[in-house]
Amino acid sequence: MGPDAGWTSYPPLSGPAYSPGHRVDVWAQVVTFTEIAALVAAVNIIVTVFKMRAPGMSLNRIPLFVWSQLVVSFMIVFAMPAVATASTLQLAADRAVSTQWFNPAEGGDALLWQHIFWFFGHPEVYIIFLPGLGFITPIIETFTRRRVFGYTAIVLANITTGFFAFGLWVHHMFATPIPELGQSLFTAASMLIAIPTGVQIFCWLVTLFSGRPRLTAAMLFILGFFFTFVNGGLTGVMLASVTFDKQVHDTFFVVAHLHYVLLGGAIMPLFAAFYYWFPKVTGRLLSETLGKWNAWLFIIGVNVAFFPMHILGLNGMPRRIYTYLAETGWGPLNALVTLGAVIVVLSVALFVVNAAISWRAGRLASANPWDSYGLEWATPSPAPNYNFVNTPVVLGRHPLWDTGSPLPVITGLRSDRREVLITTTFDARPDHRHKHPRASIWPFVMALAMGITWIGSIFTPWAILVGLGITLLVMLGWGWASSQDIEVERVDTEDRIVEAA
């Protein structure tokens, strides 16, 4: 059952001629199913950020983590349709109903796959690590007790990164026949994207130097991020050059680069975030001693494992091989890589032990154990599912530092139904109250119908038609069930407010 045409599933290898059976169809349809879920979640996050903020949280007071999630959601909206189209409407269709997208004999084009795949694939890299960058600001601010330098610059850098990320995809295709002008453009764009990322790094460094950092486990991971990610970014600028890229294409140099960027840019901040928010989620603190071991071993292990790969790549060791001849002389450095990997495994094992023990028996956390500023720290630990008894009002970028606890609130939302406050998009002024639907089995039934559709479509294209029918029936059932919910509402018809049911 397992897909066997590589994670990029390039045709013609993945096409009907060279991959018979259903292995590649599993890849194609599960990718699309997942991307549809990602798209729905992205729309959900965009609407939540635009319309459901705490009153007073104008756009220029949104926490930087939320900004990064907003930018990521917009990137998902524009990136995921590309891979969903490529995998289902093109690859799966070529395989199941003999469309000719990638068949050169009938005017199709195998390279078209690479374009559309990487038009998704490159933004995806930023989709992975922009949330990581979002974690960094609150953690640095909390553990230096300094407000971040250059809030607006960081927001603009986030947005710029989101835009530029869509202009780089061809640098994954420098070894294919593309026009020279295209090569120059994509080289320039690939170098350009280092600038907004650099702006963010400098803002954080200034913030760090202006305070006296407390070196908690979370903070160690952030320092590891700076060291590792900046190295990965620099090799990224090197790879943007076509001549250099062709020299190290498909070698371990690229493997080193992508691990420096993703382990440094996404995983280290993710560990930091885990240490930082664990008490809010579970009500208990992780062990700081184990955490510091976890951090040091991880930072050292990652660098020992991946730094030698730069040299191996420059020496010509290709990617995706499982063995090589002793005469190549790559043995000693590969042994060092293995040692690094063992250190990483030890580090992650310590982390798992730490999380398991602390979940049960860790030190109890107060509502705000780090003396931080964000709204989440005004709720008890663990945060109750309703978050706040009354919706807090935000008067600055650092609510708990600006106004202290308890935060001022607004009142008047009904508590006998799931009512939430909707605010205006820019200034977050209270606009209206929205009734969320009651708990219902129908969304789950809808998810089942979608799951049956997509899993069925691996085996036969008719599953799409049958599944569509089932899904439409479920839609009707859902509408029927929710139409039972008749209550008196205050309706704003734009010229007057009417009470009606």
Binding site: V43, W101, G107, P406, L413, L468, M475
Partner: protein
Amino acid sequence: MTAPLPAPQQSLGDVAELPTVTFGHRSLMWWGTLGFMVIEGWTLALITAMYFYLRQNFHSWPPLINGQPLTPSLTIPTINLIVMLVSMAPAYLAARAAKRLDEGGVKLWLLISSLISLVIPVLRWYELWALNVRWDTNAYGTAAWTIVGTHASLLVLDVADTLGLTLLYWVRRMPIKAMSDVADNSFYWYFMVLVWVPLYLIVYVGPHLFF
């Protein structure tokens, strides 16, 4: 666990007088609908870009089969385009009645919308064959079928949504909140129709001009 008693909090305002149902860009569902329009419009834009990308692989566009160009027929597609443009009128009137909380008007215009909307997918079926090429003939046929077919999936969903709303309004007492849904359904319908205009020009009229 027992939650600690909340500390006394200063209230900066009371929102009990605010409305609970709004229309258009103030409501959450409108924003959600807009989000899906962007996703679906962008998907169609990507497929259209690929249609033009494949042009470079052919000497003539549309390609020749047995010396004859595969130009699409225009009659059915043009009739369907007109029907779709006309269908925006009852959709608009249904939305206007909804904003006035006029339930009779909503039921009437939803019914008329439904009757018109039933014709469109049927015409769409013949419209696919009006391309005069099969999806598996060559890459041109593939791209043209994919553009028209992908738009057809949006069409079928919105027709189903309109029929479902109409059915619910005629057989049940609907909550007042559903008026906002009626307006959003029309909003999506405008998108579905308007996004078709450039696609119609590219897929059906274009080949006559390019050849």
